[in-house]
């Protein structure tokens, strides 16, 4: 089934550790996004990529980095995790030439202790 695959589903991490959340899509969408979702704050954009080889900062980029080496993969890295990065992370993609609809993965629940 076509869609977005995120890994891991859930992770507990010690503060200060490095962590990479993986995201792969098989829809050949040109745009990809990382959001974090926190209770009462909704989905907030961390980073985005409009096409392979380009990335941009969203609303809450500090402490996170991304890369877009190819169309399908868009990993999110926490270089040195802090407790405030405890959240549910959603990767999404869209075909910018289409309706603007976002396709989301099922999320990665990260707990930083």
């Amino acid at each position: 089934i076509a869609g977005i695959t995120q890994a891991p589903t859930s992770q507990i991490l010690a503060a200060g550790r490095r962590m990479t959340l993986r995201c792969t899509q098989d829809m050949r969408h040109n745009a990809m996004y990382w959001y974090r979702q926190d209770l009462g704050l909704g989905l907030r954009l961390i980073h985005y990529s409009n096409t392979a080889g380009t990335t941009g900062k969203g609303e809450v980029p500090d402490g996170y980095s991304v890369s877009r080496a190819n169309t399908d993969d868009f990993p999110l890295t926490l270089a040195s995790a802090v407790p405030s990065q405890t959240s549910v992370y959603f990767c999404a993609s869209s075909d910018k030439g289409s309706t603007g609809e976002l396709f989301f993965g099922e999320g990665s629940r990260l707990t930083v202790l």
Binding site: G42, L43, L45, G100, G107
Partner: protein, 111 residues
């Protein structure tokens, strides 16, 4: 400041009734607005998109309106069913190359 506001409290309605969810925004001029459904532990799923030049859009039992003067979108579910219980998110095109989301309204349909 720019804000997107949705009912923060959960809404409880009886099966078969129609309910309306509200999305208000300030200091944005979106070209379009979208509604998503999110079930617990799952990613959001796209429902409807409505453009600034459209007053109303329908899809099965769903109806969305978009009033750019009031800066408001209303999301209606008719003949509601327990399976409609979920959190509903509105999202705006804010010209930042990605959608900006409201915090969502949780709807509970009682059988």
């Amino acid at each position: 400041s720019q804000k997107i506001e949705q009912n923060s409290e959960a809404l409880n309605i009886q099966e078969g009734k129609t309910d309306t969810l509200t999305c208000n925004y300030t200091n944005y001029s979106p070209a379009y607005l979208e509604w998503y459904r999110q079930d617990p532990g799952r990613g959001p799923v796209f429902l409807l998109l409505i453009r600034e030049n459209e007053k109303e859009k329908r899809k099965e039992r769903l109806k969305v309106t978009f009033d750019t003067t009031l800066k408001q979108s209303l999301f209606h579910i008719t003949a509601s069913q327990p399976a409609d219980s979920a959190t509903y998110l509105c999202a705006l095109d804010t010209g930042r190359r990605a959608l900006t989301f409201g915090s969502g309204t949780r709807l509970q349909v009682q059988p």
